[in-house]
């Protein structure tokens, strides 16, 4: 049986207790000097607040047992969805994973119908048929949250191919986690996007954990997306996923490139999930110093301070926080007021005739 020097080393790597915490890298402040107008920055701050406050409310409603099933929150990771959303055109396409609340809201899904869907109500954006893991709002370019990772990168290719054929200049963006880079569909999608020169951007949110397992323990390369980009002839792009400006500028560049017919990009945005993988996971497997270090790099207080340092009055930011809080309260009331769906819709929308009949 063949042996390699790596075998023993690997056994040690799987011991969580011996694992070094992954601490955040210093921010590249030179990017904040870039030319992003103040309205865009204020828009990003509002969006960050919306995503954060919505997710916190979703968590509270879980604790009250008003939200059943599961949920996968983006707390701590809001800068990625925010930076991209501001860089996208309204008719561009978003494809997300089960961790899709933030991406849905970022594209403009209304909070009320989104919250009602989490509560399984008739007035939910999907009428209660999809739930937390499948938020979709085609009218906003949010083409779906796909709960079995990988496929949606291939599907995003299809939307990009369609835009290419229709000559619409639309761009498709597929968001996914670090764990997705180890499933076959990721590689099939990258290859096809390159050979067909598709207007698609693949955005990897590397939050350092594939569900419960540190990504570095189960991945052949250090940077799961960026290090694989050269295998498909793409530039290796690794960015600070907690810096909305950095994300926005990188996203804009990649989206502009795709829109102008110069093909796909793969971006790895390093970020951190401040909670566990899902509702069931308290995330206790993470070193305390790692969690604390990343808490100091929370994108929202950082961006708040940056806006102040750029001359934005504190009052303007606190007004946004209050407005968003009121909107989240309204969304919660809207959701709670919704009825539970009944037999009227159970059998609808399986087929395009609106029903589910399979025989005469």
């Amino acid at each position: 049986m063949p042996t390699s020097p790596g075998d023993g080393q690997r056994a040690v790597l799987y011991d969580y207790a011996l694992r070094e915490p992954r601490l955040p890298q210093p921010v590249d402040w030179s990017l904040s000097e870039a030319d992003i107008d103040i309205d865009t920055r204020i828009g990003m701050y509002r969006k960050l607040q919306e995503l954060r406050q919505f997710e916190k409310r979703a968590y509270d409603l879980f604790m009250q047992n008003l939200v059943k099933g599961t949920s996968h929150l983006s707390l701590g990771m809001e800068a990625v969805a925010t930076g991209f959303a501001l860089a996208m055109r309204p008719d561009d396409y978003t494809f997300a994973t089960y961790r899709g609340h933030a991406h849905s809201l970022a594209r403009g899904m209304e909070m009320g119908p989104a919250m009602a869907e989490l509560l399984g109500r008739e007035n939910g954006i999907l009428g209660g048929k999809g739930g937390s893991m499948h938020l979709t709002d085609v009218s906003k370019g949010m083409m779906g949250s796909y709960a079995i990772i990988g496929a949606h990168l291939c599907i995003a290719n299809g939307a990009a191919w369609s835009a290419q054929m229709r000559g619409t200049d639309q761009v498709a963006v597929a968001f996914f986690g670090d764990g997705t880079t180890n499933i076959g569909a990721f590689h099939e999608a990258l290859n096809m996007a390159v050979i067909w020169n598709l207007p698609v951007v693949f955005a990897c949110e590397n939050n350092l954990y594939m569900e419960y397992t540190p990504i570095d323990l189960i991945t052949a390369v250090e940077n799961p997306a960026a290090d694989r980009a050269p295998a498909y002839g793409l530039e290796s792009i690794l960015i600070d996923g907690n810096d909305p400006d950095h994300v926005y500028l990188t996203a804009k560049k990649a989206i502009d490139k795709a829109r102008s017919g110069q093909g796909p990009s793969l971006i790895e945005a390093v970020t951190y999930r401040s909670g566990g993988h899902s509702r069931a996971d308290p995330g206790k497997y993470r070193p305390v110093e790692e969690v604390e270090a990343w808490a100091d790099r929370d994108p929202i207080p950082m961006y708040h301070d940056r806006l102040l340092s750029l001359g934005t009055p504190e009052g303007r930011l606190s007004a946004i926080e209050r407005e968003v809080a009121a909107a989240v309260d309204d969304a919660t009331e809207y959701a709670k007021a919704g009825r539970e769906p009944g037999e009227a819709t159970l059998l609808t929308e399986v087929y395009a005739d609106g029903g589910s009949a399979w025989r005469n």
């Binding site: 396409y93 954006i125 999907l126 009428g127 048929k129 999809g130 499948h134 979709t136 709002d137 085609v138 083409m143 779906g144 796909y146 079995i148 990988g150 496929a151 949606h152 990168l153 291939c154 599907i155 995003a156 290719n157 299809g158 939307a159 990009a160 191919w161 369609s162 835009a163 054929m165 229709r166 498709a172 076959g184 569909a185 099939e188 999608a189 290859n191 096809m192 050979i195 819709t345 609808t348 929308e349 399986v350 087929y351 395009a352 609106g354 589910s356 009949a357 399979w358 025989r359 005469n360």
Partner: protein, 328 residues
């Protein structure tokens, strides 16, 4: 009238629809310059060009993902999966994404797409290139499932499938490819969910699909020599399923047989027989009888494969014995 083989009818049917709808595109492995490994897409690249007839890598997930994404954003698509066995490597996209997304999103998305694939045995390809997997597709809510048995039906059902707003799995049978038949001139468009009585009879009803249809017809000829009048129904479309034609026939004949190439467990005939049992019980003079491939992977050797898949002889004997035991 023109005489076309089944394989030529596939290209003929696709061309008919691509001429009608300039937005329609097709993608798959070796379908363009090579004309398909079963030669079912010969000539399409010449007429419609490489933008509409696209070769792909061996990446079934990328193929069906592209088909799904394009169809949900306004471009109708025909995707080819070379062998139906290969659906297993992209089944997530078929069963979890394409089939369910309309329902999960409350009807926000539609998938005008056809997945064509070569199905069935008889070519001595062994267990991974010979399966009849129509029952895989039939059991997933949200899909439609079609399997033509003649060149004419290939064209008519292809048109119906392409024009249908729902995703259709279109099974082309490998062992029917060489068979030729006259096809009427002009556009042929059928309707999904319509079975065809391909031979009228009064004593027994035999329902069959794809390659099993000509075998059932051959068996019916021999049964006629024994004074057993067999009605043969070509199911054509498993979803939607034309149960009315079947139940009407059973009301007349009082005996029901299915001939299925799929392995026995959960074959389409189990569903159809249960419908007949539930809804035509008092019409029946005997049990519903299923004639199927056994619950085995298909073997490669010609002698073994021929033993496994229902033959005209096995159909004849099963029906004759069943009728004899009843009357005797």
């Amino acid at each position: 009238m023109a005489e076309l083989s089944y394989r030529e009818a596939v290209a003929h049917g696709i061309a008919q629809e691509m001429r009608r709808d300039p937005a329609l595109v097709m993608l798959g492995e070796d379908i363009a310059a090579a004309g398909g490994v079963f030669k079912t897409t010969v000539g399409l690249i010449d007429e419609f060009g490489p933008d509409r007839i696209r070769d792909t890598p061996i990446s079934e997930q990328a193929i069906l993902g592209a088909a799904m994404g394009a169809s949900m954003t306004g471009v109708p698509v025909i995707a080819e999966i070379m062998f139906s066995d290969f659906l297993a490597v992209c089944w997530d996209i078929v069963a979890n994404e394409i089939a369910k997304s309309r329902y999960m999103t409350g009807g926000q998305v539609s998938f005008p797409l056809v997945i064509r694939t070569a199905n069935g045995g008889g070519a001595r390809f062994g267990a991974q290139h010979s399966q009849s997997v129509e029952n895989w597709a039939m059991m997933i809510p949200g899909l439609k499932v079609v399997a033509p048995s003649t060149p004419r039906d290939v064209v008519g059902l292809m048109a119906a499938s392409v024009r249908d707003p729902d995703p259709v799995i279109f099974f082309e049978h490998k062992s029917l490819m060489a068979g030729k038949a006259e096809i009427p001139d002009g556009e042929i468009v059928d309707e999904l969910g319509v079975a065809k009585v391909v031979r009228e009879g009064t004593d027994v009803t035999i329902a069959a699909l794809a390659l099993m249809v000509p075998r059932a017809l051959e068996a019916a000829e021999r049964l006629a020599d024994e004074d057993i009048s067999a009605e043969v129904i070509d199911i054509r479309s498993l979803v939607p399923l034309d149960t009315k034609t079947i139940l009407d026939s059973v009301a007349k004949t009082a005996r029901f047989f299915t001939v299925e190439e799929n392995p026995r467990l959960c074959g389409w005939g189990a569903e159809v027989a249960s419908i007949v049992g539930e809804e035509a019980f008092w019409d029946l003079d005997g049990p519903c009888v299923r004639i199927t491939t056994p619950h085995i992977p298909l073997p490669s050797a010609a002698s073994l494969e021929d033993l496994a898949i229902p033959s005209a002889d096995r159909i004849y004997k099963t029906v004759a014995d069943s009728v004899d035991s009843r009357s005797g």
